[in-house]
Amino acid sequence: MSEHPIFVKASEPIVRNVIATLSQMFGEENVKQVFAGKTVYITRGVKRSELFLATPNMEAFISKYIKGIMGKEPYSLGLFLGQIVKGKYEISMDIAEKLFAEARRNAIMINDHASALFLYGRDVMAKSILKTYPPLSRTVVVVNKLEDFLGLCKLTVKPKELLSGILRENEIVCLNIIDKGWFLRKGH
């Protein structure tokens, strides 16, 4: 595998898969609004296929100047959508944050103590959840009391159980997938 990715327009099935996943999480209308008139690019020739959303201006620039005249490939572009791992789309924090700001759904709000821990990569316990933003899918956005985007986690219980009182206080209910502390710990 080359270490230099080649950016190509993503195939229709991939775009459909991405849009379907995001729509299920944040609603079709919100996703349509963000994707309107834009093109999904995917990286090829590297281990990790990353997805990016480019505006028409970017698309024209890349095609005419970067690939055309310079014969180069970009390093990254536009809005980072996530990656394809073993054929499955993994959502990025960038698009999740943007869509949550529009949709205000598919999220859980956690208390201050849990927020600080979550930003260190920790999971979420049942007692930490203050509020949910239904409908919830398996992967949900995590926000703090001020609705700052903290990251993404994967629910280990059914959404309706979250605030039902039937769970043990210290039970882990959402597994940290990625959080904003990642920018300090690792980064791109």
Binding site: M58, Y75, G78, K98, F183, L184
Partner: protein, 340 residues
């Protein structure tokens, strides 16, 4: 000697003369731990021994950190309130209401949650000036050469309201990763990142309406925060850097559309990396001129037009410099070049 020496070599021969340290320079250099040739140049630049000593004393003194509020994600008032509630004391920068000096709590400013959320960027106050002087609009196609770590790129994006296109280039692989992380953290979505030697951008003829070149430099202006600068740079290094800077500006001018604007900046106060470089460019190209600056001109010091016994283009007085001892900031230089 490298390929970069080709253009200013004639001036370098002169430099061996003008930088030859006087007895006074040797004494001051010994007293403050500087290389004597550096002090000799400061004596000639400032023409006032008290000022020279004030500048030399600044080495390693430190400066207040500063942050730029990211209005793509938060209002500056809200950010200020949040940080103050965490015992971070801020003071607005007099010439930029979105910039703040961190008067107290600066030790934690790099790992507060608001930092992770991309609500601000930590950068020196002078680094906020070049994007403001370039003043891009939402419809511009902007080139940001040597863009990492992304303070100016993300500032440009904010000024453009995340619209238009910013092509941000960086050659170094590790610095490129940092650039990408910062762009992501700050919620910027209008960039195309390109890992390339910025000199190769000359292939793109007359493409960009605006270009920012915060050029690699010796960092002579960073004296207050990095005392190693007292002895790090040799005279040859200055000229080698100048040659590289000239190559970068040449590429920028090739890539600049007619009527387009290029803002050149360095964190160096050395005329060799600034006025001399721009002077060479004015000699090389008859389709460029120096443009007016609107922000730094209110408090900065005009560029030299006659320095070290060398007469330069009189339009260089439209370029401006920040001196650490006069302005309480990192030393900096900014010039705007307009292509006819």
């Amino acid at each position: 000697m490298t390929e970069y020496f080709q253009i200013p070599f004639k001036t370098f021969k002169i430099a061996l003369e003008y930088a030859k340290p006087s007895q006074k320079a040797i004494l001051l250099a010994r007293k403050y731990g500087f290389l004597p040739y550096i002090v000799e140049r400061y004596i000639k630049m400032l023409n006032d021994l008290e000022e020279v000593e004030a500048l030399l004393k600044m080495a390693g003194q430190g400066l207040p950190k500063s942050i730029r509020c990211n209005t793509l994600k938060i209002s500056c008032n809200e950010l200020k309130e949040r940080l103050e509630s965490k015992n971070v004391k801020l003071r607005e920068i007099s010439w930029y209401k979105k910039g703040f000096y961190v008067l107290e709590g600066s030790e934690k400013i790099g790992y507060l949650h608001e930092y992770l959320f991309g609500y601000y960027f930590i950068q020196g106050a002078p680094s906020m000036i070049p994007p403001l002087e370039l003043n891009p609009t939402s419809s511009d196609i902007v080139l940001d050469m040597c863009a990492a770590p992304g303070g100016k790129t993300t500032h440009l994006a904010e000024l453009m309201r995340n619209k238009g296109v910013i092509v941000a280039t960086e050659l170094n692989r590790e610095r490129m990763k940092t650039l990408r992380s910062n762009i992501s953290r700050m919620g910027v979505t209008n960039t195309v990142l390109l890992r390339i030697d910025a000199r190769k951008l000359s292939m793109l003829k007359e493409v960009f309406s605006k270009i920012l070149l915060d050029a690699p430099c010796t960092g002579e202006g960073l004296l207050p925060i990095d005392p190693t600068r007292k002895t790090r740079t040799k005279l040859e290094d200055l000229y080698e850097m100048a040659s590289r800077q000239i190559e970068l500006i040449k590429a920028a001018i090739e890539a600049l559309a007619p009527g387009g604007e290029l803002v050149y900046s360095t964190c160096s106060i050395a005329p060799e990396e600034n006025e001399f470089v721009i002077n060479e460019i004015l000699n090389m190209f008859d389709n460029v001129k120096i443009g007016e600056l609107n922000i730094i001109s209110k408090f900065g010091v005009k560029g030299f037009v006659d320095i070290f016994g060398i007469k330069l283009n009189s339009d260089l007085s439209k370029c401006y410099r920040i001196f650490p001892h006069k302005h309480g900031m990192e030393g900096f230089f900014i010039c705007k070049i307009i292509k006819a």
